[in-house]
């Protein structure tokens, strides 16, 4: 039976990552209560629990649909600095506070990812951590960045996949984890936990049919 990836996420960035790699993805996002009331829970555990919550809601929704073999993928990302979790800023002033705090410092981006294979009923969760080193930012640069309004809806108040790349001096870890989905880990989980060969089925299967990325003229001249 055809395998279909369902992304249980509202994040356009996660969808963009999957589609830029050529995956054929269907997005079904649910509304889950993201308040986890466990005192002292580590960020690593928190993001995995949130990913499990999001994924479970969609897996249950698809449970009775046996037309396809669904693979449900859910994720949650947080920015952590000095044991403080930075979520999405509530306002421009909140984003400014975050960027000023992160300026010239190292912080971590942690993504929890849950993957369910509905045919086996097997689900698992993992996390990936990437260290991000910010440039020392002047007040003028911070204000110019805030003027772009890119901080909205971004954990930590910046988006590395946009103009925020100019704020980052270097990273240590998976780049796509910082954007919101650790694709290298996804590949690893598919094989090790679900015995799924990600490259199976060149046209179809997990991939978009007639994937346009392969050796196109645009790619051929890339050096």
């Amino acid at each position: 039976m055809e395998l279909k990836i369902v992304l249980a996420s509202n994040s356009p960035r996660r969808r963009e990552i999957m589609e830029s790699l050529g995956f054929d993805v269907e997005v079904i996002a649910g509304n889950v209560d993201e308040n986890i009331e466990e005192e002292g829970i580590s960020p690593e555990l928190l993001v995995q629990e949130l990913a499990l919550l999001k994924g479970r809601a969609i897996a249950q929704k698809l449970h009775n649909d046996d037309s396809r073999n669904y693979l449900v993928v859910a994720a949650d990302t947080v920015v952590v600095y000095n044991n403080e979790i930075f979520g999405k800023p509530q306002s421009r002033a909140d984003a400014e506070r975050m960027l000023k705090t992160l300026s010239g410092k190292k912080h971590s981006v942690i993504t929890g990812m849950a993957v369910w294979a509905l045919d086996s009923g097997k689900g698992c969760s993992v996390y990936e951590k990437t260290d991000v080193y910010f440039k020392k930012l002047s007040d003028e640069t911070i204000q110019a960045y805030l003027d772009t309004e890119e901080y909205k809806d971004k954990a930590g108040g910046y988006g590395i996949q946009g103009k925020g790349i100019c704020l980052v001096e270097k990273i240590d870890g998976d780049y796509y984890n910082v954007v919101g989905l650790p694709v290298s880990k996804f590949h690893e989980v598919l094989y090790e936990e679900h015995r799924t060969n990600v490259f199976h089925g060149k046209n179809g299967g997990l991939w978009k049919k007639n994937d346009e990325r392969k050796n196109t003229p645009r790619n051929k001249d890339s050096v």
Partner: protein
């Protein structure tokens, strides 16, 4: 306030970085025949007939693991041999970027980022090659399915794509006083890509 124009010769992925970063630039379709010292003379030649407010940038990337430099494979067999070679190890993406013009001397800046590659199985290599996505240096596309093999990056991700954006940002400020805050037709303020 003086405004500038930015003329860039680089690969397609490097242009993507500039667009992503919100930089206002013009593409130069001509690329230097060789990397290294030739970069500076190429950039000087490129700038020769341009207006006095044109800043010229030439960026070229190579991939090396310290033992060999990886070019673009000609055949599937060559691609397979390269992927086997980098499997499970660490290799470097090195960009040499020459910037100058608009009244400032040309200088070459080097930026490096390291990639730790997954230890690949035979089925992963063959499966990847079946997608014909190997016409890249070292036989993988960091912005395509090749990302599935990149376990860790140490450095600036923009280097992997071919243009060190942080180094460019610093050079623009140091040489021309151009910052994201004052824009000068290059950065977010005053950029038509805002």
């Amino acid at each position: 306030m003086e405004n500038y124009r930015l003329l860039v010769s680089a690969n397609a992925a490097a242009f993507d970085v500039l667009t992503q970063a919100g930089v206002n630039f013009e593409k130069c379709d001509v690329r230097p025949a060789a990397n290294g010292d030739a970069l500076k003379s190429f950039a000087e030649e490129m700038a020769k007939d341009e207006d006095k407010n044109v800043i010229t940038v030439v960026a070229e990337k190579e991939i090396s693991d310290g033992k060999r430099v990886y070019g673009i494979p000609e055949t599937r067999e060559e691609a397979k041999e390269m992927l086997c070679d980098i499997s499970g190890g660490t290799h470097s993406h090195i960009v040499r970027m020459c910037i100058g013009g608009a009244g400032q001397p040309f200088e070459v800046i080097t930026a490096e980022a390291q990639v730790s590659f997954k230890k690949l199985n035979e089925w992963e290599i063959d499966g990847y090659l079946n997608f014909d996505e190997y016409k890249f240096p070292a036989a993988y596309d960091p912005a395509g399915k090749g990302a599935l093999f990149m376990r860790k990056i140490q450095g600036d991700f923009s280097v992997i794509k071919g243009l060190p954006i942080v180094a460019l940002m610093e050079a623009l400020e140091r040489k021309y006083g151009i910052t994201p805050a004052n824009g000068k037709n290059i950065w977010w303020k005053g950029s038509n890509k805002e």
